[in-house]
Structures are given as C-alpha cells and as structure tokens.
C-alpha cells in the first residue's frame, strides 16, 4: 500500500488529466449521439486546433486562454462547414460512408499538417507555465487547475444548451427520432452540422487548455482519442454528464493503475474498464437503453 503522500497527488492529478480527456470525449459523444457515426477525424481536428492555438501564441502573442475565445467560434464554423459541405454530401446518407469519409479526412488533415509544419514538436513557454498550487501533499500545476475549471464550465454550458435552448431540443429530437424531427419541421442537415460544429468547438477549447503543459506535433491529437472513445462508451453514447464523469473516472483509473502496475501498464486499467462496461452495462453510466 502506498502512502497518502503519493496517493493523494495521484488522485488529484488523475482528476485534472481526466478533465481534459472529458472535454475531448464531450465533442466525440455529441457527434456520436446525434449523427450516430464515429468521427475518426476527431484526433486530427484536435491536432489542428492545437496548431491554431500554437500559432495564435507564436505569431499574435495571444495567451492560449484568450485564444480559446476566438478559436472556439472559428472551429465551430469549421466543424459546421465540414459536416454540411464535405462529410454530409460525400456520405450520401449511409453511415458506412460517413465513417470512411471521416477516416479519409483524418489522413488528409494529418498529412497536410505534416507537410506544412513538418514533424517538429512545438511547445510554448508561458510565464505561469511552471506555477503550482499546494494542496496538502500535492503540487498542482496552475494551468491544469484552470483547465479543470474551464472543462466543468463548458460541460455545464453544453448541458444547459442541450436542455433549455431550441437548438438543444432540436438536437435531442434529431438524435432520438430523425424522421419524426424532420416531419416536425426541423432542418436535419442544419442540426447535424451544428452538432458537428459543437463537437469541433470543444476540441478548440481542449487544445487551448492542453497547450500550456503539453506539446503539439502532427500526431499529438491521436494520443487522446482512443481514451476519448473509451470514455464515450463508459459514460453512455451521447450523454454530456456521462462524458464528464467518465472522463474524470478514466483519469483517476489511469493515474492509479499507473501507480500500482507501473506507467507502462497504466493503460491496462482503462481498457479493463472498457471491457467490463461493454459486458455488464453496454449502454454506459448515463446511456439510455436502446
């Protein structure tokens, strides 16, 4: 048994890391819940957003947190456009095609980034990048604590949007009964694109939260996406609260299994959970039964 001096920081770190996982998973779960497709381009879009945040800092001197305010609408529009003018038309209404189109997009985006920016790993150095707050025996990195707060706020905002706005209601209607929604006068193509836009906007925020402590290269986003898939399954497909809670759980599980089994096997904990959820609660923590 490890002493609390190690255990407490490990749990807190797990929560902080899990928050960012949750945000990436939020985007994924929205898109899955409504469009019923797995967006393979999610990782590539996250990398895109990280590059955007990086260059906003490098070229315009924008702090990543400020950049988030600008990048979020930009990436919303990007996501909207992608779904409306590329993925939607190219898929001809078949789920199988959408899957392949997003996979193709991922390949194109990653290689375009590789071509444009080469494989260099880029980091930014912020004055507060190394600041910590002491919580008991733990030194928590300030950017990660800020990140945690922002993720909770974003999740809350998303939940409110989904719950109380007309757009949110339309999104839920399309997710549950596409034909019925269409018959009631909801523009399904528009709602699809809005959802894809929201999912992509989440990535822009995640990228801005990651950059102060992480690095970006043309493959950086992929490291987060496999985990995000697990979280989506754990939390329940399409559930905002599920993604948030799932993300935090996965973060802590990864942290603790890394501690007990060694970092190399840390990932094992995540995938054991993944398999257990699929076996015993296939609809996830907050998912509705099919």
């Amino acid at each position: 048994m490890l002493s609390p001096i190690i255990l407490v920081p490990a749990v807190l770190n797990g929560l902080l890391t899990g928050a960012v996982y949750a945000l990436v998973a939020l985007g994924l779960t929205l898109i899955y819940g409504v469009l019923h497709i797995i967006n393979f381009a999610h990782g590539a879009l996250l990398t895109c957003a990280m590059f955007a945040a990086f260059f906003a800092h490098r070229l315009l001197g924008l702090d990543p947190y400020l950049a988030a305010l600008g990048l979020t609408p930009v990436f919303f529009c990007l996501g909207y456009g992608l779904q409306r003018f590329v993925i939607g038309p190219a898929a001809h209404g078949e789920d199988r095609n959408i899957l392949l189109v997003t996979l193709g997009l991922a390949v194109v985006i990653e290689n375009a980034l590789l071509y444009a920016f080469r494989a260099d790993t880029r980091t930014i150095n912020l004055p507060y990048g190394f600041d910590v707050v002491e919580v008991g025996p733990a030194f928590l990195s300030v950017p990660r604590v800020i990140g945690f707060g922002v993720v909770i706020a974003v999740a809350l905002a998303l939940w409110l949007i989904m719950r109380f706005t007309d757009t949110g209601k339309a999104i839920r209607a399309v997710a549950r009964e596409k034909l019925g929604a269409e018959l009631s006068g909801i523009d399904v193509a528009h709602i699809y694109a809005v959802t894809f836009g929201l999912g992509t906007a989440c990535l822009a925020i995640a990228a801005c939260l990651l950059l102060p402590t992480y690095y970006v290269n043309p493959h950086a986003g992929n490291a987060f996406v496999l985990i995000a898939f697990t979280i989506v399954v754990l939390g329940g497909m399409g559930s905002v609260a599920g993604a948030l809670l799932g993300g935090l759980i996965i973060g802590v599980v990864e942290s603790l299994s890394g501690l007990y089994l060694g970092e190399s096997l840390g990932q094992v904990g995540i995938f054991i959970i993944f398999i257990l959820v699929l076996l015993f609660r296939p609809s996830g923590l907050f998912g509705e039964r099919a």
Binding site: P9, R118, A119, T121, T123, N125, F139, E263
Partner: protein
C-alpha cells in the same frame, strides 16, 4: 543526360565521328563520371519523423560538399541520392531498400532507429548492398555477421559502459556524494535494455537503485512519476526517453520542484538537444547526458553547425551523424574507384576515414563496427551544451552536484 556529361569528347564523338561512335559513347561516359546512386533511408513520416528529417538534412549537406568536386577516382562522378521514407517502421525500411536495390543504388545510408536498421540492413545483405548505419545503437546490428553492414557510431554496450564509468569518475571527484539512483525509462527495446544494464552494473559500483519506472511512448503526463521521485528523494535521476517524454518529464520535475544532485541521462532524448535548451532553459539547466555529439574542437564541425543553424534548423545528432556517414561512404567510393558493391564493401572494411566531425578515435572496422566510436558526456550550462567528458574533447568543467535553486 546531364549537362556535365556533354563534354568535349562527347561533342567530338557525336559530330566528327558520326553516328556509329555515338552508340559507343554511353559506355565511355559511364567510366567517366556517370552519377553513383546512393540510397538515403530515413523515417521522415510517422513517430520518428523529426529525427528522420534531421538525418536527411545531414545527408544532404554532405552530398552537396561531395558533389562540388565529385568522386575523383570515378572521373568526378557525382553521388545521386535516392531518398526513401522508412515510415518509422521496419517494414517501411525493407520496402525502401528493395526499391533502392532495383533502382541500382551502390549503397544505402541511414535507418535511424535500431529496429529499422536491423531489418533494412538484413534486406540489403541479400543483395550484397553495402549498408551504413547512421545512428541505430542496438549491438545486434553488427553482431549478426552481415558483411555489408557498417556502423561509424558507437553501439549500446560502449555507450552504457562509458556512461557508468563517467558517472563514477564524476561522483568520485565530488567525494562520493551520491549513493541512490532512480531510473525512469521508456519501455521499448532502447529504454528497457538500458535500464536492465544499469540495474546490474550500478549496484556493483556501489550505487543503490531505489526504483526503476518504465513508461510507454507517448506518455501524456508525468505528474505521478515525479511524485514518486519526490517521495523517494534519490540522489541521481537517470532518464532514458525519447524527446517529447524527456521534455515533459524535465518540465514536470521543474514544476514540482524536484531537484536531485544530478539528472544524468544516457541517450536522453532531449538532454543534449539545442531545441530543448532554447525552449526551456530553466528545466534543461545542469542536465548531463552521455550521448552522440560532435567534436567541439573540430573546425569542420563548427562550420557545419553554423550552416545548419543558418537554415533555421537545430544542430541535432542526427544531422552530424548522417553527415559523417555519407562522407564515410564517399571516402570508400573514392578508394574503391568503382561503384561495384563488393569493392565498396572491401573499401569500407579497410577504411581509416578521418574526415568526419565526431569525437572518435582512429577509424577501424571490426565486423562492421568502428572501434574508434565513442560517446561523450555533455552538460547544459547557461544557454549552451558543453562537453564535459572525455578530457581531450571537453569544453567545460562539470557542475556537480546541481546547485540548489
């Protein structure tokens, strides 16, 4: 046909001697300086792409130099590079070697990671195609008895031994202040192999290894690892990681205010990287590394450094190791006076090449391994990286233990 080959003889042959002579001309020209094709194999896409692209820069710079005058014994023939992308996988490396062989390459240089070097050199061996390893440090690369494979740089065994010897020298000189060690390593062949070596050899030399922590590549977060380091408080931390993880680890250590007596890496991914020092000077300060390095007292090396930096690139070990490997091949071509593969292999076997920019002893190949190859120890001091061991190449005195912040 290139412009260079339109020389006086060609002109005379095709005009004065008429059409019959023109048919004979290509044979004459080949003897006179037809370009020699050489495969430049690097992983320029995938996980290793940064290193691959740096390696290609080094090889290209060497080729520019060589081609300014050409290979004299081949009538001023130029080396024509055939670039290949190993895509960061051994299979990718194999496929490129096959292509290079069919393209008629006289030799292949590169590979970068051990796994690609192992696979690619074996494929090349099937065609008796000379293969010069640029970096790949696994000892097995040169112990398989492949006649075609040569390595100018040091292998793993030499690296680890030198690292441990230098650590002991360093610690003894400071009055044996360090006794405990913690090893943080990435969990593929390179990191695990090294950790195993250190775990057997360090206790014999009076060090206690408190804990060995493996982690995967990529690792997204090092906070737990650093918390463990803080709790165990070792005198020396030995990281063996690739670049990104190394930087994350060092940054997290700085953030969590963990400051052992020394951070001493062996082939540390970022420990002797100008990029790291430039971007995170505080996290990098005083870090020591036993690694590949150029000879800081060799004017040619300094000139190369200037050239690379003028292009806005970092002068990483991939650059000068590939540069040196290509020059080694050019020297062999010069002495073989032929693009024949067997003759090139023979010329490499007897090579005493000294025109490289590495801090090595005299070049002598035994079973394909250069016996003069050796790593050096570096330390980040101020905004620069200095050589601290061995004495004949040293540019600064080591700072040990690390001053308290």
């Amino acid at each position: 046909m290139s412009l260079q080959s339109l020389n006086r003889r060609r002109f005379l042959q095709s005009t004065a001697l008429g059409a019959a002579a023109t048919f004979a001309a290509p044979a004459v020209l080949r003897a006179q300086g037809q370009p020699v094709k050489v495969g430049i194999l690097q992983p320029v896409s995938g996980a290793m792409s940064y290193s691959g692209q740096q390696g290609r820069i080094g090889a290209t710079l060497a080729l520019e130099e060589i081609n300014a005058s050409g290979i004299k014994s081949l009538g001023g023939a130029k080396i024509e590079p055939v670039f290949g992308d190993a895509q960061s996988t051994p299979e990718g490396g194999n496929a490129e070697v096959e292509k290079m062989n069919s393209a008629g390459c006289a030799a292949v240089v590169g590979g970068y990671v051990s796994s690609i070097c192992l696979a690619a050199s074996q494929t090349a061996a099937r065609y008796d195609l000379p293969y010069i390893v640029d970096v790949g440090v696994a000892d097995s690369i040169v112990t398989r008895g492949l006649k075609n494979t040569f390595r100018l740089g040091p292998g793993f065994g030499v690296l680890a031994k030198t690292a441990i010897d230098n650590l002991i020298t360093l610690n003894d000189a400071a009055g044996k202040i360090a006794k405990t060690v913690m090893i943080i390593h990435e969990d593929s062949a390179f990191g695990s192999g090294l950790a195993k070596l250190l775990n057997t050899q360090l206790p014999e030399k009076g060090f206690q290894v408190i804990e060995t922590i493996p982690h995967p590549t990529p690792t997204r977060d090092f906070n737990n690892v650093v918390t463990k380091i803080r709790a165990s408080n070792p005198d020396i931390v030995i990281p063996a990681d690739y670049y990104n993880e190394y930087v994350l680890l060092a940054r997290t250590m700085q953030q969590q205010k963990v400051r052992p007596k020394a951070i001493y890496s062996v082939l540390g991914g970022a420990a002797s990287s100008y990029k790291f020092v430039k971007e995170f000077p505080e996290a990098a300060q005083y870090i020591m590394d036993c690694n590949h390095w150029f000879d800081p007292k060799n004017p040619k090396a300094l000139e190369l450094k200037k050239k690379v930096e003028a292009k806005g690139e970092f002068f990483t070990y991939e650059v000068y190791m590939n540069y040196s490997a290509v020059l080694l091949l050019a020297d062999a071509l010069e002495r073989a006076a032929s693009a024949d593969r067997a003759k090139i292999i023979a010329a490499l076997e007897s090579s005493t090449f000294s025109g490289h920019v590495m801090p090595y002893g005299p070049t002598k190949f035994v079973n394909g391994q250069n016996q003069g190859a050796a790593p050096v120890n570096t330390q980040v001091l101020g905004n620069d990286i200095q050589v601290i061991f061995p004495a004949q190449f040293a540019s600064a005195k080591p700072v040990y233990p690390m001053p308290k912040a």
